[in-house]
Amino acid sequence: MRRFLLACGLTLFALAGHADTAAPVAADPVLEERVMALSHKLRCLVCQNQSIAESDADLAVDLRGQVREQLSAGRSEDEIADYMVARYGDFVLYEPPMRASTLLLWLGPIVLAVVGIGVLMIRLARRNKESAPALDEAQRARARALLEENDNDGTQA
């Protein structure tokens, strides 16, 4: 089976090599699905808020052709992503890789959440302490008297 697939891939590659550009849509629907899946993860540099799967910009069409050609030549998704990054930089990836320069991007939200929750907990703990003010004995007696008075009012009415 693998040999058969390899043969199919090589045949497609040979055909693509013949034509000046790759055919706009691969004949093999499975391959086309892989092409589109990978294309959705790659940013179009011309229209920057679209992936090369969604964009009809000239360059996006060319890059989709590259993805198709290289997939049918048997290269893996990772290899093709590396090929794009080598030419256009990490910017082509919608999901940037974890690196020293992208650490803030990846960890920033977590750090902010932890700091936020920490501050909230400290403030709440402080407020709880403050909300129980100490009363001296005379104040307690007075409070009790007031409460009892209220209770009596309540029963009489």
Binding site: Q48, D58, Y88, D90
Partner: protein
């Protein structure tokens, strides 16, 4: 404790600072990962003598500029006088990479252009354009299908690469070259690279 009410104001100003910095950036200018890397190899037909080719190795030992252009590229018209003036100074050779001359032109329906006609059409169009606008290039080469453009990470025309004597890309200018960019950035870099052994 008195200054506590200033905290939100301070945070707000910090946010304004970040947003202001963000506004000053140009999102169209994506830094190229090819800077300080060897230029991708290529061998392409010359525009003046299409039966001959020019390759990366032919430029070895020289500091040179690779300028990506096409006759359909509107912004190229803007930078063209700057390039023509630069070429007259004979300070640095300029190689023109004619990028997808025919199929890059959005007004051409490629389904109506037979495959064998594309190259002659590209040559005619490119030569005609250089004749009417002036030819600043020591040599122009034809990237008919844009494949070399992809290898160079070209995503918009015009783009200009500064390549050193060892064939390493040292600088990339995205968009039309302005007289200011030429004087303040590109020419000083050319002079520095020429001084390198």
């Amino acid at each position: 404790m008195k200054a506590k009410f200033l905290v939100p104001l301070f945070l707000f100003l910090l946010l304004v600072g970040f947003l202001g910095f963000g506004l000053s950036l140009n999102p169209r200018e994506v830094p190229s990962p090819l800077i300080d890397k060897p230029a991708p190899d290529f061998t392409l037909a010359r525009l003046d003598t299409p039966e001959q080719t020019l390759g990366l190795s032919d430029m070895k030992g020289q500091v040179w500029l690779l300028n990506v252009w096409a006759s359909w590229c509107v912004a190229c018209r803007q930078e063209h006088p700057v390039l023509v003036a630069l070429s007259k100074r004979k300070e640095v050779p300029i190689v023109g990479l004619n990028y997808k001359e025919v199929r890059g032109d959005g007004t051409i329906d490629m389904r109506k252009v037979p495959e064998q006609n594309e190259l002659p059409m590209a040559i005619e169009r490119a030569r005609g354009w250089l004749q009417s606008h002036g030819d600043p290039y020591d040599v122009s080469i034809l990237d008919i299908n844009g494949r070399v453009g992809i290898d160079f990470g070209v995503y918009g025309v015009p783009e200009t690469f500064l390549i050193d004597k060892q064939g390493v890309i040292r600088y990339k200018h995205i968009g039309p070259i302005t007289p200011d960019a030429l004087r303040d950035t590109i020419l000083p870099k050319v002079a520095a690279l020429k001084a390198e052994s």
